[in-house]
Symmetry: C2
Subunit: 228 residues, 2 copies
């Protein structure tokens, strides 16, 4: 029996960034087509017939916002029959991380505008995108405790205090500076550099560190558990 499905497939990306003085931000674009014309929405779009899903996401991120993604994983598939006024559209949502200071956002023909919004001050959103972002925020807050994804949001070289502030922001609780540092150092996944942070404000300049990915994978294979 031939299958005559009318179901359409899209992908959507929830891309988070971290801006130290601002907090956690998410990338939104302003739609240039109906439905929800001129509404804010997640970057995304229809999956092409022979395209794999990750390609569809990275393609849409590049064409709609000029963003080259750093870290990308599948989040969840949304399939409620009435989530899209055009008919049955199932969307596979992805979860991404970038360091927003590396990008100049480029709104292209596919989007009127593309900007970072603080996750605490989101505008009205198209479709069920508010729900999707909610879920992605939960995933981020959870995942950062068990996997070293926080580094994707920071500069390659960073002072430990930046990492700590990121964790304080995401976990929404104060963290003891000394204990945090001890814990991170004890994991043995940071490389200390002989460089100091360029002075931003006052005070003693901090040493810079970077994440040692190879070492991490080695340690993980040996049974080490990353946990903050």
């Amino acid at each position: 029996m031939p299958i005559k499905q009318q179901i359409k497939l899209t992908v959507d990306a929830v891309v988070f960034g971290y801006i130290p003085k601002e907090g956690i931000v998410v990338l939104l674009i302003k739609r240039t087509i109906e439905p929800f014309l001129h509404s804010w929405a997640l970057p995304g779009g229809f999956v092409r017939d022979e395209e794999n899903l990750e390609n569809a996401v990275t393609r849409e991120l590049l064409t709609e916002a000029g963003v080259n993604i750093n870290y990308l994983e599948q989040l969840y598939t949304f399939g409620m029959p009435n989530r899209d006024p055009r008919g049955r559209v199932v969307s596979i949502a992805y979860f991404g991380l970038v360091n927003p200071t590396n990008y100049k956002l480029a709104a292209s023909s596919d989007a009127e505008d593309a900007t970072w919004f603080n996750i605490k001050e989101l505008p009205d959103l198209a479709f069920d995108h508010a729900t999707i972002i909610d879920l992605a925020v939960k995933r981020l807050r959870n995942k950062i405790r068990y996997e070293p994804i926080g580094f994707e949001l920071l500069d390659k070289k960073f002072p430990i205090a930046d990492l700590e502030k990121l964790y304080e922001t995401l976990l929404d609780r104060p963290i003891d500076r000394r204990n945090f540092q001890k814990k991170i150092n004890h994991l043995g996944i940071l490389i200390a550099h002989n460089e100091k942070q360029k002075q931003v404000s006052q005070g003693r300049p901090a040493k810079l560190f970077s994440f040692n990915e190879e070492k991490y994978f080695q340690l993980k294979k040996d049974g080490m558990a990353f946990e903050i």
Copy 2:
């Protein structure tokens, strides 16, 4: 511009059970249609136009194997362009748990046969179903440490030793009986019954317990973390 997608959507279910003397088992059906006619495969099938995804899964489980699922969550969406010889078929895989002793599996017209296979002795499988099961097994092993889903695999009333053996099987390491019991009791999510296990073999009969779901949700809301 109208969208002319040829992509088709299916759901597949990885349903696990626990048989104390056997270990962790997964539900497979024998296909009655091409492709992979007569191969073992995960229960699943095409999503109907106006049907939500969970409904599609529970419908297929019921018609293909006569199973009423206990616990169901979305696992992952598989979208590699060549995963199905019929063309582009994207499949949303679900992860389910049942107590297999509650079911008499019923192979129906949609499946030649439906049986439980030990996850250590899987047959050759249709499509990319081996990959899907791999991922589901990882999810199960991981999830059982942070969420009280183990209870879904046991009888409503069970001796603590059964729960402990389940954890030993899944985590693949010995667990100290006394420490395990202390930990579980300390969580305060079990109800002790004034019943003893009917004698299966020799030895002192064990007290029976059941999972206190309400209490668990209350404690969780208050910040308690379930962790084994």
